[in-house]
Amino acid sequence: MSEGYEWLAIIILLSMIGGLPRIFKGPTRADAMLAAQLCGTSSVAILLLYASALEKPFLNDIALVFSLLAAVATVSFVRMTWHAPEEVDGDH
């Protein structure tokens, strides 16, 4: 039973790694930040699945901290680091 959860966690980890190319491709800095945010959510999901699979409830606390502080990096990016004009076209 618990192996099912571990495999789901591995699939989520793989899809999180699959999102990494967006960081390099850009085109804007916000896209890189979006990929980082997706990774944050994915790690919350991975931790929850692991907590359930291994029956270690304190892993939920780590997930709680992650989801609590998920916004800090994004907000500090938007408010402090995204100011310069960039190429604004999408990559279609």
Binding site: L8, S15, M16, T28, T41, V44, A45, S67, G90
Partner: protein, 100 residues
């Protein structure tokens, strides 16, 4: 109990599918705004399904409340940070993509 275990695994599997769809959207959508849209699917629906699946198996009320808190926090932080990104993108003059 066995049926509940299977239902929980299936729900977590649906959540995982949403995560994969979100990655796909992040990679293939044409501009920031549509990628934001793809991202929030993982945050709200994907994580929601996974938490629903896990919550079915939890034994204590306190664990249940903690899981609910995690989901609510993930939703509010994803929606407000996505709003902030979209607003900043709009101010910087990034035009939404239109079908050519």
């Amino acid at each position: 109990m066995v049926i509940i275990d299977y239902v929980s695994l299936i729900l977590a599997g649906i959540g995982t599918i949403f995560f994969m769809a979100s990655t796909l959207g992040l990679l293939s959508f044409p501009d920031v705004y549509s990628r934001l849209h793809a991202l929030t699917k993982a945050d709200n629906v994907g994580l929601g399904f996974i938490i629903l699946g896990i919550a079915l198996r939890s034994q204590e009320v306190s664990e249940l409340m903690k899981l609910l808190l995690i989901w609510v926090l993930a939703i509010i932080s994803s929606c407000s940070s996505c709003y902030l990104i979209a607003r900043a993108a709009c101010r910087m003059g990034i035009k939404p993509w239109k079908r050519p």
